[in-house]
């Protein structure tokens, strides 16, 4: 269970990007976070594994408080959170297998990492997962030889190699064409079910969000203003989440406060 309480993030002296945000994700549901650019979706995900340092608030994953961990403890704790990126963030010049095994880097010895002599269990698991997402035959190919959809599959397998307790996906389909994008979304949903894994996805495409997720969270300027089943996301709610220009909204918020 992931429990976020009163999470605030402020860059420099400006307006906070996240404002006293509360969110709990339980069980193996797939949660989609929607909202216009600048709503704080990406910052929210990165605050969970502290790629972005939260200003205040608490993030608890299955009993571990993340915000107070030391650097070393954080490194160990991060293995429990898998992350998939918009730009795939693969290492282009390494083979698919090396990219996938990069997910185990937190576990294996430096010598194993250096010499590429990965543990048998890890290799078997890598082949299982790659087989599952349909890229096993690419194991020896260099990552930059693959197509976008294939590259994102490598990204997903890398995250799953960590045997994570939760999977975060930051706009995993935004760099893909519509068809590939749907394939990746259904893959994420199926994997969430098979591995009993809660998944949080930042996503722009509302149609896909409604089709594939169990729960939708709508963000607007650092706050959650919608949190319900996909069916409850009506036209009105959509307008609420996406309407207006930022300056107007800030003025309103200021007047209200």
């Amino acid at each position: 269970m992931l429990k976020i309480t009163n999470l605030t993030k402020r860059y420099g002296a400006g307006d906070p990007v996240l404002k006293e945000l509360n969110l709990t994700v339980e069980g193996e549901q797939l949660t989609s976070v929607i909202g216009s650019s600048g709503a704080g979706k990406s910052t929210l995900l990165r605050c969970i594994n502290r790629l972005v340092e939260p200003t205040s608030g608490s993030v608890v994953l299955n009993g571990t408080e993340f915000t107070t961990l030391s650097r070393r403890e954080l490194r160990t704790a991060r293995r429990r959170i898998g992350m998939v990126f918009q730009g795939f963030n693969l290492i282009d010049r390494l083979t698919v297998m090396e990219n996938v095994q990069a997910g185990r880097l937190g576990y294996i010895s430096t010598w194993a990492a250096l010499s590429r002599r990965y543990p048998k269990d890890d290799i078997r698991r890598a082949f299982e997962l790659m087989e599952r997402v349909g890229i096993a035959h690419y194991a020896d190919k260099r990552a930059d030889e693959l197509s976008g959809g294939e590259r994102q599959r490598v990204g997903v397998v890398r995250a799953l190699m960590q045997r994570p307790e939760i999977l975060l996906a930051d706009e995993p389909t935004a760099s893909l064409d519509p068809k590939t994008s749907e394939q990746i979304m259904s893959l994420l949903r199926d994997l969430a079910n098979e591995l009993n894994l809660p998944v949080i996805i930042n996503i722009h495409n509302v149609t896909e969000a409604k089709e594939f997720s169990d729960r939708i969270v709508g963000m607007r300027y650092g706050r959650i203003i919608f949190d319900d089943k996909p069916d409850a996301l009506t036209r009105d709610e959509m307008d609420q989440i996406y309407a207006g220009v930022p300056s107007q909204d800030r003025a309103e918020a200021g007047a209200a406060a």
Partner: protein, 276 residues
């Protein structure tokens, strides 16, 4: 009538404009001024330089005479010339290898995004600048004094000069890497060393090879002159032949150096094609 009245002012405006120049008056003045300044600098340099002009006018004849005396090249000493060339290649290759190894940590601490702290950054930059600013020959003078004449002084001199070159270019390559894979590995909980190993090293690899090959090529050329200050290689034979006015042998040495440099360029372009 209507059209005529419209065109009339235009033709009026056009008439009287039969001159055109590329630049406005101000632009032209600036151009003339900079040309004049450049000409003045050249005139100053020409007028005050300490040369004996009679020698200058005589120089084409002197050059012709010198080259005449080089003909035909004398290959009788070729075995020892080739041995010296082999020594030259060894100096360049060993020095490049050692310099590559030494320059890696220097580049690591001299790159903004990987340096552990500011003190290391400045230390790294200091090493790079001092290595780059002192010419190979000057390094060689120093190391000949330390190690005595010979190939060792040459290797160390070339190495010292190469560290700055390699370290600077590698440091720039490190600064230009894509940060995204680094972020991904941070999210996996990998240690700093493993992040370097998996996210930085593969990205810097092509630059690493390109820069090393380039420097090897340059070092081949630099190694040919080390002998002139006693630091080994073909330069020693060249100096000896010049000192004894053995011009035909000088010609042979020069031709061998030419062959060596062209060979080096072929090897380095072959390696570049193969590896990159």
């Amino acid at each position: 009538m209507n059209t005529l009245s419209q065109t009339q002012p235009l033709s009026e405006a056009l008439s009287g404009r039969d001159d055109w120049s590329r630049f406005t008056l101000k632009q032209r003045l600036i151009r003339y001024a900079s040309f004049a300044a450049a000409a003045a600098v050249v005139a100053w340099a020409l007028g005050s330089i300490d040369v004996i002009w009679a020698w200058v006018w005589d120089s084409p004849a002197q050059m012709a005479d010198l080259f005449g005396r080089m003909m035909p090249p004398d290959p009788s000493n070729l075995p020892s010339i080739l041995e010296a060339i082999w020594q030259t290649v060894n100096i360049a290759t060993l020095a490049t290898m050692i310099a590559v190894v030494v320059s890696l940590p220097v580049a690591y601490i001299a790159a903004q995004n990987t340096t552990p702290n500011r003190a290391c950054l400045w230390l790294g930059r200091f090493i790079l600048v001092s290595s780059r600013s002192v010419n190979t020959i000057i390094w060689a003078l120093l190391f000949v004094a330390i190690f005595g004449p010979g190939i060792v002084a040459g290797i160390v001199a070339i190495m010292f000069r190469s560290i700055g070159f390699l370290g600077k270019l590698l440091g720039e390559a490190i600064e230009e890497i894509d940060r995204k894979p680094v972020e991904a590995l941070e999210a996996c909980g990998a240690s700093q060393f493993k992040i370097v190993l998996y996210a930085i090293v593969p990205q810097v690899m092509p630059a690493f090879f390109a820069v090393s090959i380039l420097r090897w090529d340059i070092n081949l050329r630099e190694s040919t002159v080390l002998g002139l200050v006693g630091a080994g290689g073909i330069g020693m034979i060249l100096q000896g032949a010049i000192d004894t006015f053995n011009w035909p042998e000088v010609a042979t040495v020069l031709l061998t150096i030419l062959a060596l440099v062209i060979f080096g360029e072929m090897v380095s372009s072959f390696l570049r094609r193969k590896i990159l």
